[in-house]
């Protein structure tokens, strides 16, 4: 392209999207954190623009919120680990064992559920865990009691929902790993496990980190799946939702919402070091 007025053209190109993302989105985020430092009038329900740390104080001192925050982070870690463990073998099989035809088929098979609606998938697991549903039938068949709706169902459902987000980056990472490297390892006497550990793993870890951004973040922000299969358990998302809706306590909701943001920012900073951001 010609280089006349490159600055002006750049400004024209970047102006509208930056106005949208920078002003509308970042502005909204900034306003949210400011709101967290305001307070709500207990009688009128109106927001009072008085600077206070009350919302954060409540958040850190009331035990229920501490429990929910820790539970949410634990569930996010668990879901991420489960997805990484489940995604690894299928990604290796797809990229390094299956022939081109089968690989295409498997990719489509893995991707299709990604396109099925989030709600439908959560709903499907509500059916699985319902009384008399497939899970309880299967558990009873071997003489066990079904977990029913609860934290177990939540972890299973969330792992199921985000699984494709983990399979795809690992698959893409392994795709880029040349087969000749694996053959060289074998020629030099490396056994399968050794090759997996010394060659495949270093490829897979950044890919898993990239995938984990989604599994982790989506779990931190979820409140729908929890409502559908979680029984009486709550995650941070539910607290935020209840405080925006029923309680209409926006400052407190905003304060609660800063927890996932802080966790995610720390997480993104950590993941950046693995080089995962480039493979997003």
């Amino acid at each position: 392209m010609s280089t006349r007025h490159p600055r002006a053209r750049l400004a024209l190109l970047l102006g509208p999207p930056m106005l949208w993302l920078g002003v509308a989105y970042l502005g909204a985020l900034a306003a949210l954190f400011v709101t967290a430092l305001w307070t709500q009038n207990g009688f009128t329900g109106q927001i009072e623009r008085v600077w206070t740390l009350d919302s954060f104080k409540t958040l850190f001192t009331v035990e229920v919120y501490r429990t929910i925050a820790l539970r949410t982070i634990a569930v996010a870690v668990l879901v991420t680990v489960i997805d990484a463990v489940v995604a690894f073998p299928i990604a290796v099989y797809m990229s390094k064992v299956a022939g081109p035809g089968l690989r295409r088929f498997l990719l489509v098979a893995v991707l299709m559920p990604l396109w099925a609606s989030y709600l439908v998938k959560a709903y499907a697991w509500r059916g699985m865990f319902s009384e008399g549903g497939l899970v309880s039938s299967a558990f009873e068949a071997v003489g066990l009691k079904s977990p029913g709706y609860g934290l177990t169902a939540t972890v299973v459902t969330l792992s199921y929902l985000w699984l494709p987000y983990m399979i795809l980056p690992i698959y893409a990472g392994l795709e880029r790993l040349p087969d000749s490297l694996l053959e060289a390892s074998a020629d030099l006497g490396g056994r399968t496990l050794q090759t997996l550990r010394r060659i495949v793993l270093p490829t897979v870890v950044p890919a898993m980190a990239a995938g984990s951004i989604f599994t982790f973040s989506l779990t931190l922000g979820d409140y729908i799946a929890v409502r559908i299969v979680g029984g009486t358990n709550q995650l941070l998302g539910n607290v935020v939702y209840d405080n925006v809706g029923a309680a209409n306590n926006l400052p407190f909701a905003a304060a609660v919402a800063t927890i996932p943001v802080v966790v995610m920012v720390l997480y993104l900073a950590a993941v950046r070091r693995t080089g995962a951001m480039e493979s997003l």
Partner: protein
């Protein structure tokens, strides 16, 4: 890969098991939509088409579907324009702050949906003083759809380079002609794939939507969610769910046709 035979077999078995786990719940919903009993009781005793007939007449579900389609289209158009602009800016220009811009594009999906949702809700209501409704849903959806278009277009621009455009300019084509005859055809399928992803993302989104839709407007996911816990609506919810599973074949098939590399299908969410 030179793997031992037993490793291959273990991997194959695991793959089959995982695929089974992926599809069993979805099949269950499909089967259940024909189940005479309107609970999830397993196994089903008798089958019927009655629920499908009733669902086709459910005004609430149809209205919600129409809202979802309009929101999806509007958000996709905005995302196409803005996402493409950012992709061109980042790929064709070197400037200070590029990293910040690329981080800004992924932020709306990298941060939990609930944060995006409440931030926009707060901004719309308390800062701008707007009523929540169609426009606010579209703005919210477009914000997180930009990244899917951006990802697809920038990947294409990286692959194609600028030599063809330079050749076109050298041969005397105006900038507009070059765009129309050279640049646009090069990125057309990437735009389509990005648009498809953006539409699907918007069509499926519920967390951000619940915060930006207000009380009077329902997208299809919100309709499903609102009816999920009503026992007498269960059969219709089941049919809508089953229909959505069947429809999800379409974008996969389309995207396969469009790009040939299925990887781009899932990327960028």
């Amino acid at each position: 890969m030179t793997m031992s035979r037993s490793t291959r077999i273990v991997l194959r078995i695991l793959t089959v098991v995982i695929l089974g786990l992926i599809y069993v719940p979805l099949l269950l919903v499909l089967v259940n939509s024909f189940n005479v009993s309107n609970t999830f009781a397993w196994p089903p005793r008798e089958f019927t088409l009655e629920w499908w007939r009733r669902a086709a007449e459910s005004q609430g579900a149809l209205d919600a579907l129409w809202v979802s389609v309009r929101v999806g289209l509007a958000a996709t158009v905005i995302a196409l324009v803005l996402g493409t602009m950012i992709a061109f800016a980042l790929q064709r220009f070197a400037f200070y702050g590029r990293d910040v811009v690329s981080l800004l594009v992924i932020l709306p999906i990298a941060l939990p949906g609930i944060v995006t949702g409440i931030a926009l809700n707060n901004a719309f209501r308390t800062i701008f003083g707007w009523q929540l409704g169609f426009v606010t849903i579209v703005i919210a959806h477009a914000t997180f759809c930009i990244v899917t278009v951006f990802n697809n277009v920038i990947a294409r621009l990286r692959r194609t380079g600028v030599s063809l455009e330079q050749a076109s300019a050298d041969l005397g084509a105006s900038r507009f002609t070059t765009f129309r005859l050279v640049t646009f055809p090069m990125i057309r399928s990437a735009l389509l794939a990005g648009a498809l992803l953006a539409f699907a993302l918007s069509f499926d989104e519920i967390v951000v939507t619940t915060f930006t839709a207000g009380a009077n407007l329902q997208t299809l996911p919100i309709w499903i969610f609102n009816n999920l816990f009503r026992p007498n609506q269960a059969p219709i919810v089941n049919v809508v769910a089953a229909a959505l599973i069947l429809i999800s074949v379409v974008p996969v098939w389309l995207a396969q046709k469009l790009s040939g590399d299925a990887e781009s299908l899932g990327a960028g969410r």
